[in-house]
Subunit: 346 residues, 2 copies
DNA sequence: TTGTAAGCGTTATCAG
DNA sequence: CTGATAACGCTTACAA
């Protein structure tokens, strides 16, 4: 059994700050300043150090720097998932904005589980991140404690809870429910059903449902929620559509689905059953997933400001830690809005 | 102008290993062992230390640990993009597998640019990652040098180049082209066109094209490539379909698109033009994007082993650094295969 | 099985 | 503007 690759004991091999300093004939701290406060150096030193850095191919050791300065150039982000169509744009925009300022993204998924979120936060804390970004405001008690005591900027994205302490960058899910009902009601639909998400833990979807229910009631309608038992979203949408259509004369004139996956399942099930959409039943989704415009009929949906959330979250982080200058205080409350995309299905 | 939040100078405030050691009445190194080689401790110490860790809510400082041991529990990964439908599953699976073993993911996107990849690698190196994962084998000379001298496991995913030094976890794009032609040829199609990706930098797509061309020629056909000028993939697909259909009697019987986005654009353009698919023209994509089964007709496509790539890449990394035990050497060559998903469009 | 001493590569602090 | 020195919190190497 060949022994493992003989790992270098200590940091042997890599070019260090000190090596650069010797090469340039200056002290180590000057090389440090070359990277962190170049303005404080004379042109002479800056040139000599620059040359030495080039020659030796020096890459600053962020780990050592992080230890010395008690705050590293990483930002931890926890999202429910990476591979779903929802958060990808936010992650992408967030990561790109950070990278443009020399900060790195540490990423983990929670799968809508508070426990997983907690352990991700705990793990991140070990890296002394410059900031922490969480999705929504549903955290375990331990997580709340962790972030309260963390003494670093915390941002909550995708949701908007002004009464909470962390920086908020998101939109009102409740308002999405309101907008959905208003849109359909404005187009003449009256019997409007809401199909919930079968996936547990997606509490934001319940806020959308509440917005739906309250608004429909205000308009004189009777809220009617359907909860699928199928767990795969596509199947759940199909199940909902079939169950609702089986009501005969009592069937809904329009259905709001908790997200586009459910809506797509419903749409296709409706077609298979010979239903004309939107004439027989309108369908409205949420998320504007990439396939929405490609369905036949194309799916009307409500589009969340995903990229914008990522960009603004990153900006607020960078402002909080002083990397991006600003006048006054960091904007803590960032309420963005969704857009109703009226396509063919509603 | 209120001064920035008065950041704590040094690591003031956080619970340290030493604090835990004092609380438990042991030496610091014992607490270190509690986390890293618990088997070496007596039951007595283990219990006392465990209690102290609980009480104080200690979270190990990975930065300090990383500095001391010259290798941290992070793995850097560079992908072309996060928000596209292609790499998301790989990232997700990779991240989850790492997290299950206490390792964190440091993520960056290259947008198919070798320069961006290079700067991401450089930035990662500053974090002393346990390993580096890159997408494909198209790197700048500087990146090649960087990874060659990095003295850490390097994995290349999504592609398969056995002659290269890094661990390979992927599939043969050339073979995808071969499979595509064979599938269509087997169903009786003869005049088969390949529509290239209009996005620059996606060299793997050219390998698929080569597989197509060689195989078609072998079968006695004449390769026929179409290169769209539109840059948005959906539009590019539409453009290709319209241009190809304008050939009248000379139009292709089947079209292989470089990816599902292009294929979807082509599919819808064909329908809008009154074409019957696949009777008038078959359409085959690549990627099995989430919308593929939802199109009408549903899109036949070739599905890459995205999740599997992520899982195996993570496993190889963990084996390379000794976190996951194995007998013998780490498997350097991991050739996975794609599946032709025959749906309605081909 | 447990402990002591030294040092990882950088930055904060204080002096010049 | 430049530098000397002492941390930062942990792990390696060696000893008991």
């Amino acid at each position: 059994m060949a022994s493992q690759t003989p790992r270098k004991r200590r940091g042997a091999g890599r070019v260090t700050l000190t090596a650069v300093a010797e090469r340039a004939g200056v002290s180590a701290i000057s090389v440090s300043r070359y990277f962190n406060q170049p303005a404080q150096l004379s042109d002479d030193l800056r040139e000599r150090i620059g040359a030495a850095v080039e020659e030796l191919g020096y890459v600053p050791n962020q780990v050592a720097g992080g230890l010395a300065s008690a705050r590293g150039r990483v930002v931890g982000m926890v999202v429910p998932n990476i591979s779903g169509p929802i958060f990808a744009d936010t992650i992408q925009a967030f990561s790109d904005t950070l990278a443009a300022h020399g900060y790195q993204l540490l990423l983990a998924s929670s799968y809508f589980s508070e426990d997983k979120e907690e352990s991700a936060v705990r793990a991140f804390l070990g890296w002394n991140p410059a900031a922490l970004v969480l999705t929504s405001h549903f955290h375990s008690a331990a997580t709340e404690k962790l972030i309260a005591g963390a003494d670093m900027p915390v941002v909550e994205v995708w949701d908007y809870q002004p009464e909470r302490a962390p920086i908020q960058v998101g939109f009102s899910h409740y308002q999405v429910g309101v907008d959905a009902v208003r849109h359909l009601h404005g187009k003449g639909y009256r019997r409007i059903t809401f199909v919930q998400n079968s996936a547990p833990g997606d509490f934001s979807a319940l806020d959308r449902r509440d917005g739906y229910a309250d608004t429909l009631r205000e308009l004189g309608g009777e809220p009617w929620m359907f909860v699928p038992t199928e767990s795969a979203p596509f199947e759940a949408g199909r199940q909902a559509m079939e169950a609702l259509m089986a009501r005969g004369a009592q069937r809904p004139e329009a259905i709001i689905f908790a997200n586009d996956n459910l809506a797509a399942g419903g749409l296709l099930a409706g077609q298979r059953a010979g239903l004309k959409i939107p004439e027989d039943c309108a369908v409205l989704g949420f998320g504007d997933y990439p396939f929405a415009p490609m369905l036949l009929p194309s799916l009307s949906t409500i589009k969340p400001p995903a990229r914008e959330i990522g960009e603004i979250a990153a900006l607020r982080v960078l402002q909080s830690i002083g990397v991006v200058p600003l006048e006054g205080a960091v904007e803590r409350l960032n309420l963005l809005s969704c857009r109703v995309l009226e396509r063919e299905s509603a």
